[in-house]
């Protein structure tokens, strides 16, 4: 049995999306900017994609900017907005547990003369709204808060944050990195006071190499790359028609009816975390209440290095992640999120992330649990003395 529990790193592409993309690449491969029929055919796919996405998110088509992925969408949102609105103020607010695509971009903006406040999180990995309220001042131009944390699955109070932000200053720009939460939750930016929303294709059973920035038409944004002025000059570069079409297909297949899926995922999550708790010296790092997303269980197996447990599970065709997959392979990396929720070194070094998808089954989880029951005593016995 092969069990893929690393869906927060990436997901399997829906075959329907892949097939549609193949058709776009091999048959209707025109450049939508071309004037001839072949170009128009390609443009029709783009229309289809924009229509689906705008319809599902309940936004206008022209508010969609397609990018190469979540990282670029975050960069465009933060850098593009910070520079475009620098005259209004030079203070930005984010959280201490953002993905590096936001965290590192904020560091860059600090070097460029912006001030950044990093909101702390509690043990459950959730920010405090009063911290946010206190951080906002007359110089603040943008607040960026992730929807779902990629390492522990903690959910941030984006709806409440949106209300608070707009109450304090309707001009304040609110960005939400929803890469991990999108298509688990139905997110309607206009109803949630979200001005900028980041989405990634491959985390939602779409293709890699494509992402989306929703940007409210009222938001001033500068381009961060330059070229042929596609996408209203905000994102130059030949339009990735197959990627965009595949991503739209994946959204179309999931967005309208997700409520049942979430319940199913929560059931798996609680079943799995309850079973993990029965293993001695296991700490569950993910919130197990309404503050936790349904598809991520992060747990520390004290005394076993994450990498060792990861490879031990790999031997039985079970694929999980040590911390965040983006940073795997680098030494001395300690997850900022796990530090921020107050874990000690031992717990951080033994943390494993299990992340589910709509394909995950109870049988797969039982197989995973049984494998861990079998292997953990042996792995605990052999440690560096």
């Amino acid at each position: 049995m092969e069990v893929y529990l690393d869906n927060s790193a990436t997901t399997k592409c829906f075959p329907e999306a892949a097939e549609l993309m193949k058709k776009v690449m091999c048959e209707d491969y025109g450049n939508p900017s071309s004037m001839h029929r072949k170009g128009i055919q390609a443009e029709n796919y783009l229309r289809y994609a924009k229509n689906i996405i705008a319809h599902n998110l309940k936004v206008n088509e022209k508010e969609l900017i397609f990018t190469s992925g979540g990282t670029e969408a975050n960069n465009l949102a933060l850098v593009g907005c910070a520079f475009a609105n620098a005259r209004a103020g030079r203070h930005l607010i984010t959280t201490a547990i953002e993905h590096p695509a936001v965290g590192q971009t904020m560091n860059y903006l600090e070097q460029e003369g912006f001030r950044v406040t990093y909101l702390p999180v509690g043990k459950n990995g959730v920010i405090n709204l009063s911290d946010l309220e206190q951080a906002i001042n007359h110089d603040t131009i943008l607040v960026s808060i992730m929807h779902t944390n990629n390492e522990t699955g903690s959910l941030q109070p984006v709806i409440e944050a949106g209300l608070l932000i707009k109450k304090l200053n309707p001009q304040l720009i609110f960005h939400v990195d929803a890469v991990q939460g999108f298509c688990k939750y139905q997110i309607y930016p206009k109803r949630m006071n979200i001005d900028l929303l980041t989405v990634s294709g491959h985390k939602i059973h779409g293709p890699k190499g494509v992402g989306l920035l929703y940007a409210d038409e009222k938001v001033k944004i500068n381009p961060i790359s330059f070229g042929g002025n596609q996408q209203r000059g905000l994102r130059s570069g030949t339009i990735n028609v197959p990627g965009i079409t595949g991503m739209a297909k994946a959204i179309e297949m999931q967005y309208p009816n997700m409520a049942g899926d979430i319940d199913k995922l929560y059931e798996l999550k609680y079943y799995f975390s309850d079973a993990l708790k029965r293993i001695p010296e296991v700490i569950i790092n993910s919130p197990l209440d309404g503050n936790g997303a349904p598809h991520i269980v992060n747990a520390s197996f004290i005394g076993i290095k994450s990498e060792v447990l990861l490879h031990a599970l790999e031997e039985e065709n079970i694929y999980v992640s040590a911390g965040s997959a983006c940073s795997a392979g680098k030494t001395n990396h300690q997850s900022a999120t796990l530090k921020a929720i107050g874990l000690n070194k031992e717990a951080i070094e033994s943390a494993i992330r299990f992340s589910f998808s709509h394909y995950t089954t109870m049988a797969e989880l039982n197989y995973t649990l049984q494998t861990m029951y079998d292997k953990i005593p042996m792995l605990r016995k052999y440690v560096r003395k």
């Binding site: 490879h311 031997e315 392979g329 680098k330 560096r384 003395k385």
Partner: protein
């Protein structure tokens, strides 16, 4: 690198062949032909993936590489620079003998193309000293070598007013060889030296993911030894990426050594058994003794005449003289340690030269470090180590046998 990057396309097309100068083969007496044949073989192998087709020939004590088609000059030179046994690579112009007049014209054009054309060495106006080194192997040629030197020298002086003769320390040598054909060459691109791989038997390299062992393999291969390698991995404590890293290292080394048979041994069970049965501070040294035993076993099965390690005295606890003696003791095959007297910085420099350094420093745990004691023994007492190993008597033979049976062999080549 002389003469490689600098030249424009026009000059690249100008050269069609190379004279290969070889290193120590020349002094090998009656075995000389064996060394030369091996060198020809290695050159052919090195060129097999270079765009173009080449003939490699051995005539009267010289090796020539001649392009039969269009070819990529830079890639060709780079490939030749990885062939042990080559001391120098001389890009050469070969022409039929059509009289002295034609020869003089060719020599002037040659000097102009190589040194004065766009991208050439010398900006016009700068002075350049030279010497003609003519060699008349075909004795019926009307001019002898002294006359050739004098006449061609004069012609060069007339054609290039900025050039001067210096017979003692010239900036450039212009070689003119009168054979069946006439060969002109001047620049000598240094080769790696050493002896052609395959002329000195085969040895088994203990290859880890570190900086040292690939360099050790390179150095022994340079003496003409063919290399096979053994790698010990320890899943789940080491990852597939660590294994891939070792395969990548073997591949880089194989640029110089030719194909490497990489034997991959799963060492986990042996390691854990030692962990269970022996004092923890002796774990590393006992592990290394078993690695040597296993490597020797594979070496004997595959006709290897020795083992190669990247050890250097005192670098880590397991490389003190006492530790080396303790690991050395378990095998009868000679163990070659070409880096034994090298400092780390010297090894790093070599690793950078041969291109393994960047791969070696990728941070994956290898099986030597996962359970390493905080204070491993640095002066192991061989008697005590042997006594500790008695605790392994019950299962170790079976575990070693199983590890050998489950060995994976990857043939690594570029």
């Amino acid at each position: 690198m002389q003469g490689v990057c600098r030249h424009g396309v026009n000059v690249m097309n100008y050269y069609k062949s190379f004279l290969i100068k070889y290193a120590e083969i020349g002094i090998k007496g009656k075995n000389r032909h064996l060394f030369e044949e091996a060198l020809v073989r290695q050159i052919k192998y090195a060129l097999r993936k270079v765009a173009g087709s080449f003939s490699v020939s051995r005539t009267s004590g010289r090796i020539y590489v001649e392009a039969q088609t269009d070819f990529d000059f830079t890639d060709t030179v780079d490939a030749l620079k990885a062939v042990f046994g080559i001391a120098g690579i001389c890009p050469m112009v070969s022409m039929a003998d059509e009289g002295f007049e034609k020869l003089s014209e060719a020599v002037v054009k040659f000097v102009s193309d190589v040194y004065f054309s766009q991208g050439g060495t010398v900006a016009s106006g700068n002075s350049l000293t030279f010497k003609i080194a003519a060699r008349r192997s075909r004795k019926n040629y009307p001019l002898d070598s002294m006359e050739l030197n004098a006449k061609l020298g004069g012609i060069i002086l007339d054609a290039f007013p900025s050039m001067k003769v210096d017979v003692h320390k010239p900036n450039i040598m212009i070689h003119v060889e009168i054979r069946e054909k006439i060969n002109l060459y001047s620049e000598i691109i240094p080769g790696p030296g050493g002896m052609p791989v395959g002329t000195n038997g085969k040895a088994m390299l203990l290859l880890s993911g570190g900086i040292d062992s690939p360099v050790a393999g390179y150095m022994i291969a340079k003496r003409g030894v063919k290399i096979d390698a053994v790698y010990f991995h320890a899943p789940p404590y080491t990852s597939d990426r660590a294994k891939q890293k070792v395969i990548d290292l073997a591949k880089t080394v194989s640029r110089f050594t030719g194909p490497v048979h990489l034997h991959i041994i799963n060492f986990t069970d042996i390691q854990l058994y030692i962990y269970d049965q022996c004092p923890h501070e002796e774990l590393t040294i006992i592990m290394r003794r078993y690695m040597m035993r296993i490597a020797e076993h594979i070496a004997n099965e595959t006709d290897c005449l020795g083992l190669i390690t990247g050890e250097s005295i005192g670098q880590v606890a397991s490389q003190t003289l006492k530790s080396l003696a303790a690991t050395n003791e378990v095998c009868t095959l000679p163990v070659y340690r070409p880096l034994i007297g090298f400092d780390k910085m010297e090894i790093v420099k070599l690793a950078e030269q041969i291109g393994t350094y960047e791969t070696s420093i990728q941070p994956f745990e290898d099986c030597c470090t996962i359970f390493v004691a905080k204070h491993p023994v640095t002066k192991p007492n061989v008697k005590r180590i042997n006594r500790s190993e008695e605790h392994l008597a019950e299962r170790i033979d079976e575990l070693v046998k199983r590890a050998l049976e489950n060995k994976e062999v990857v043939i690594v080549k570029l």
